[in-house]
Symmetry: none
Subunit: 221 residues, 2 copies
């Protein structure tokens, strides 16, 4: 899950990044409005956390431009003053959720998860597929009730496949979402992770369609 944090205050930005990273997101951040506008337009994020109080370019304008350009990713808006008229403005501009400062990191994380979940079309933080179960809150995967011990990277891959269970996910997409675009990784890196995952969960769990990509299937299918 790739998330972009747009926030000018370096300290808050770092805090947000840390919290989201700890929650299993791949967090990138940016403090400049124009850069944010560009990256939101060109890159593929699962979520954007957007502070409205930016110095260079108004957050609402950025959001509006994204929407005008047809970008539909979930956007969680942060703002310092919590008047309801401002909330309405944010939502009308195309925000998916709204969080007034000050807020608890736990709440931000919960809302971030909810947005990603909702975007994926699922209602609950706990999802099951076959005898597999993914708990987004605890970042745990269980199989037949038994916990599967996964590394952070492995979990992110499984979680991504889980959220896109109805599709075959191209390797390029996995590369984009597991690592930032700046990092150049070999396709083989994904293959290595897949191999390790299959060793842990059984070869049947993750399927591959040559030339297309990977997909998840319950082991009891």
């Amino acid at each position: 899950m790739r998330v972009l944090v747009v926030e000018d205050d370096p300290i808050i930005r770092a805090d947000l990044g840390d919290a989201l990273t700890a929650a299993g997101f791949l967090a990138e951040s940016c403090g400049d409005g124009n850069e944010a506008l560009f990256r939101g337009d060109t890159e593929d994020y699962d979520l954007i956390v957007l502070d409205l109080g930016l110095p260079s370019l108004d957050g609402l304008s950025i959001l509006r431009q994204w929407r005008d350009n047809g970008r539909g990713m979930p956007v969680l808006v942060l703002t310092a003053r919590g008047t309801w008229s401002e909330r309405v403005a944010g939502i009308e501009a195309g925000a998916d959720d709204y969080l007034p400062k000050p807020f608890h990191m736990e709440e931000l994380v919960a809302r971030a998860r909810a947005l990603v979940r909702r975007a994926a079309g699922h209602g609950s933080a706990i999802q099951t597929l076959g005898d597999l179960r993914l708990d987004a809150n605890q970042m745990r995967v269980t199989q037949r009730g038994k916990p599967v011990s996964l590394t952070a990277l492995e979990y992110r891959l499984v979680a991504y496949l889980f959220h896109h269970r109805d599709r075959t996910v191209p390797v390029t997409e996995l590369l984009e979402h597991l690592y930032g675009d700046d990092e150049s990784r070999d396709v083989n890196a994904i293959e290595a992770v897949i191999t390790r995952l299959r060793r842990k969960m059984g070869a049947e769990v993750i399927g591959n369609r040559r030339g297309f990509g990977y997909y998840l299937r319950g082991t009891d299918e």
Copy 2:
């Protein structure tokens, strides 16, 4: 836009109904938890506004049960006390948005609209032509309901013809699209692929107009 308001206080319930009706929704309401549970499970709403403080049955339990039953409609949760831990609980249970009382009706309406808007954004990636069906999500093609096993290249060709079903596509265009411009492939490469496709799907599916190119047609036309 059909919306269900679940709220035990008759006055608030009426206010909500009025505001939503004025906003263009078709509002139904209900004050009892068990009835709400049933209607949410069996009826088809575009949105549900759910008060957590119900006498008979806890709102969170209702929500959780809906989600467990696979009901994915947007749910906007209302609650009296606005502690952040409660919000987290609501969101974790599968709420799509959260509004603490007291709130302004304008904000509720704005959020309701946003939720419905977002849920409507699920454009279908499935196209049909004759007895052929192309699922862009799964990157799969079915014929008369039966899946056709295609390689990546074959799929790309079919998908391209599908997207340009209304015209005859020149071979040069297919070459350009299937391979990068830099790669020099023989026209015969395309012909080979076409042959393989016809063998898999039946010769009638892909037509050719001598000197012009290829086109797709449903096999039952």
